[in-house]
Structure formats: structure tokens, C-alpha cells
Symmetry: C2
Subunit: 324 residues, 2 copies
């Protein structure tokens, strides 16, 4: 059984081997750049852990795991264009470092590379594996579209929000686990439970993200606190605040939300105070815990030895307990 | 054996069935729009013809053929953003009709749909078929990158240009034929000859395109004549003109090329006269004929009954004789 660190190192090493020095360099350099920014490599590690739950030989899962990581980075690249983001992991985004055309086309090529890596898999259930991946890929696009739609909407319900983050974030984490399980030799039911484990974990993960962006410890949290508040982003916190606010709180919230005349510090402070008095931080935690519990329940249902499932349950626990 | 028209109608009908009425409509409507603009459906028809050369039952090739057509339209959609094109088949391009973000994300989703359609194929050589497609997809990206690079270069050689159009245009036509052949039951050698038939035909096709854009009959040609000249595009004609021009012609060519102060009519007339005196129209024709001959030679080598190969040879002949 492999540890997270071992698997992360393996992913990093194998990704490094895939660096493209071929022509045209204008196409391949941005791909190398996008893939060299590190990170926890959560998705490919989960693929390998899920495979490892059913087999000692995780080698057949390595290239598909890279494929999922490359796909994930492709979505970040195109999302950054759409969101006009300037930084990604403290470095200029590809469309800032080069330009939008480069980012579109290199992104497309990354996506093709993702399939190429998945196509290294030789198992008899290749078609099933590819369909699971393809379905998740489409769901990520749908999630991104809903996310952009929500920016234009006045009111977004909790259910709509949970569906959106399910598609945008949880679908690919669920897919990572199911693909690993199928390659490792899981039956459909086991693979399904790992998928559901991943989906619930993914939703909990995003809810934690929303919480930390506002209530994280600035000393520990990587990014500056309150970015979502300043961007008037519709997070779980905002949605619950609008839902639970009393008449006066609602008036104050409406005044603050979308207000670009306040100084950043003042806006963050006032919104946070309002969030605290409404109690949306706790509501977010409670919701995340609910998904975390369901994730653990799904892992129970997989029915392999407890010791074998420990690494994945530790990933889940670390996601829930993380401060950044 | 099916005629072109029968197969085109089949492709059109099956594409129509795939219209997406699902949510989010912001994602799927542009896809329906992009796929409903008609056209000759050359690539999927060639896939079906190539399958038909080896089997009567072309049904297993239908969804993969659609996949290739959807992929082709995805590349047009993203290329139109990069080229800032405003019209495609006399309708606003997707990024003009909606916006750039919609065009990026809908394009990505179309690309995923293309794989989904290819994944309908159940044959034992699925992996091989997908790898052929994936390789071509990457080559199309490389070709587009070279095309964009060429805009920034002063001198492009004939060889560089032929490599670029090989990647950007011929690779996918070659892939269409090989995928059809492999699904139909061709052996690797036969599939290889059909691939080479397609590659050579694709290059000839693009050279014809270059020729017609300048020397086509305005009464017959769909678009206005001289668009490439006005855009200072590096076509085969321009590259040969710079290569073959005498000292005085070179001086004149240098004065005209990149000159945005002339009236459109004057610029087109003067460049065309210069092209005529250098003889680049004939040189383009001769080159296209060479590729056409090689395409026919490759078809000979496939070694099936002549009558069975007639539809594909007719496609090739029509491409060479077309006036628009």
C-alpha cells in the first residue's frame, strides 16, 4: 500500500517525463508551464489509491491518472481565460504569460494529451473507463457554464449551488476514483461506491474552500482572505446569508453585496461581521460535515479491508481539517 | 454501395438526432447552432465510404463519422475566435453571435461530444481507432499553431507551408478515411493507403482553395475573390511569387504585400496581375495535380475492386475540378 507522498512523487516524476520538447514550441511550452506548477496532485493520487485498493500492480493506472491531472489543468487554463484570472498558484496564468490565443490552443492540445494518456490503458474495460472520463469531462463544462450563469442571476438557491459545484468540482474527483477502481479490478458496484465517495468528498471540499476564503487564518491560508467577498462571488456563504437574514440584516447585506464603493478592508470586515451574526460559517461547516459523513458511508459500502481504505479516508479527513 | 448524396443525407439526419435540448442551454445552444450550418460533410462521408469499401454494414461507422464531423466543427469554432472571424458560412460566428467565453466553453463541450460519439464504436480495435483520431486531433492543433506563427514570419518556405496545411487540413481528412477503413475491417496496410490517399487529397484540396480564393470565378465562387490578398495571408501563391519573382517583380511584390493604403480593388487587381506574370496560378495547379496523382496511386494500392473505389475517386475528382 502506497502513501500519499509516494504517489504524489510518482505522479510528479511521471509528469516530468512527459514534458514536450517538440515543435511547435509555441504550442508545447505553455503546456509544460501549466503542468509544472506543482500542487497536491489530488486527482491522480486518488486514481492510484483507488486502483491500489483492488490490486498491488498500480502501473496500468499511472498513465490514466496523469490523463486526469492533465485534463484538470486544461480546465483551469480555459477557466482562467473566461474568469480573466491573472494568477494561478502565484504565477501568471497562461493567457497573461502569453496571450488568449495561445491559452485557447494550448488548452485544446492539453485536452488531446489527456485522452492520449488515458489511451495507454490496455484493459478489456477501456471503453467503460473512457466513458466514465468523458461523462465527467462534460459535467465539468456544464458546471463551469452554470457558474458563469450564476454571476448574472440575482438569486441562486442552495440546491442550484450544490448542483453546480457537484458538476464543476465533484464530478472529476468522483471520476478519478472510479477510473482507478475500474482499472484496479473493482466490480461495478464497488466502483460506484468509490464514485459516490468522491462526489460527496468533492462537494465537501468546495464548501470548505468557500469557508476558508472568508474565515481562514490569513497566516496559514495561501491566498488573501476575503477574495470571494470583494468579487461578490455567489458562494455557499452568500446564498445562506440571503436565505437566513432577518429584515435588517437583509437590508445591510443588500447594501454591501455588489457595492464597489467601500474600501476592500471595510467591505470584508462588514460582510464577515454580518456572516457571523447570521451564522453562515457554522451552516457551511455543518453542510460540509454532512457530505463528509456520506462520503465515509460510501467507503464503508465498498467492502474491502479497513486497513486498505485508510489512505483514502485520510485524504478525506485532511480535506476536512485543512486550514488552507 | 452508397452515393455521396445518400451518405451526406444520412450524416445530416443523424446529426439532427443528436441535437441537445438539455441544460444549461447556454452551453448546448451554440453547439446546435454550429452543427446546423450544413456544408458538404466531406469528412464523415469519407469515413462512411472508406468503411463501405470493406463492408456492407456501415452502421458501426456512423457515430464515429459524426464524431469526426463534430470535432471538425469544434476546430472551426475555436479557430474563428483566434482569427477573429466574423462570418462562417454566411452566418455570424459563435463568438460574434454570443461571446468569446461561450465560444471557448461550447467548443470544449463539442470536443467532448466528439469523443462520446467515437466511443459508440464497439469493435475490438477501438483503441487503435481512437489513437488514430487522437493523433490527427493533435496534428490539427499543431497546424493551427504553425499557421498563426507564419503570420509573424517574413519568409515561409514552400516545404514549411506544405507541412502546415498537411497538419491543419490533410491530417483530419486522412484520419476520416483510416478510421472508416479500420471500422470496416481493413488490414493495417489497406488502412495506411487510405490514410495516404486522404493526406494527399487534403493537401491538394487546400492548394485548390488557395488558387480559387484569388483566381476563382466571382459568379461561381461563394465568397468574394481576393480575401487572402487583402488579408496579406501567406498562401501557396504568395510563397511561390516571392520565390520566383525577378528583381523588378520582387520590388513590386514587396511594395504591395502588407500595404494597407491601397484601395481593395486596386490591391487585388495589381497582385493578381503580378501573380499572372510570375505564373504562380499554374505552379499551384501543377502542385495540386501532383498531390492528386499521388492520392490516386495510393487508392490503387488499396487493392479492392475498382468499382468499389469509384465513389471516393469521384470525391477526389470533384475536389480537383471544383470552382468553389
Amino acid at each position: 500500500m502506497h502513501t500519499y507522498q509516494e504517489l504524489q512523487d510518482l505522479v510528479e516524476k511521471e509528469l516530468q517525463k512527459q514534458r514536450q520538447d517538440r515543435e511547435p514550441v509555441e504550442l508545447y511550452r505553455p503546456i509544460n508551464y501549466a503542468l509544472s506548477s506543482g500542487g497536491k496532485r489530488l486527482r491522480p493520487v486518488l486514481t492510484l489509491m483507488a486502483a491500489n485498493l483492488f490490486t498491488h500492480d498500480i502501473k496500468p493506472a499511472v498513465m490514466p491518472a496523469l490523463g486526469i491531472e492533465v485534463f484538470h489543468n486544461f480546465t483551469l487554463l480555459h477557466d482562467d481565460i473566461m474568469d480573466q484570472a491573472e494568477l494561478r498558484r502565484n504565477r501568471p496564468t497562461v493567457h497573461k504569460q502569453w496571450n488568449t490565443n495561445v491559452a485557447i490552443l494550448s488548452g485544446d492540445a492539453m485536452f488531446i494529451k489527456a485522452y492520449e494518456y488515458l489511451l495507454h490503458y490496455q484493459g478489456g474495460n477501456l471503453q467503460q473507463v473512457l466513458r466514465v472520463f468523458n461523462q465527467a469531462a462534460l459535467e465539468v463544462c456544464e458546471g463551469q457554464q452554470y457558474d458563469m450563469n450564476f454571476e448574472q442571476l440575482n438569486a441562486v438557491s442552495e440546491d442550484q449551488y450544490l448542483e453546480m459545484i457537484g458538476l464543476k468540482t465533484a464530478a472529476l474527483i468522483a471520476c478519478s476514483l472510479k477510473v482507478g477502481a475500474l482499472i484496479g479490478g473493482a466490480d461495478d458496484q464497488q466502483a460506484g461506491h468509490l464514485y459516490d465517495f468522491g462526489w460527496n468528498l468533492g462537494v465537501a471540499f468546495q464548501l470548505q474552500d468557500d469557508y476558508l476564503d472568508t474565515f481562514g487564518d490569513p497566516e496559514v491560508f495561501g491566498k488573501s482572505i476575503g477574495g470571494d467577498i470583494l468579487a461578490d462571488k455567489k458562494t455557499f456563504l452568500v446564498i445562506k446569508a440571503f436565505e437566513k437574514a432577518g429584515p435588517k440584516q437583509l437590508q445591510e447585506l443588500t447594501r454591501l453585496y455588489g457595492n464597489r464603493n467601500l474600501s476592500p478592508d471595510e467591505k470584508i470586515r462588514k460582510v464577515k461581521n454580518l456572516f457571523r451574526s447570521i451564522g453562515v460559517g457554522d451552516l457551511t461547516h455543518i453542510k460540509a460535515e454532512k457530505y463528509y459523513e456520506e462520503a465515509r458511508r460510501q467507503m464503508e459500502l465498498v467492502g474491502r479491508e479497513s486497513a486498505m481504505k485508510k489512505p483514502m479516508l485520510e485524504v478525506a479527513e485532511n480535506i476536512m481539517r485543512r486550514k488552507k
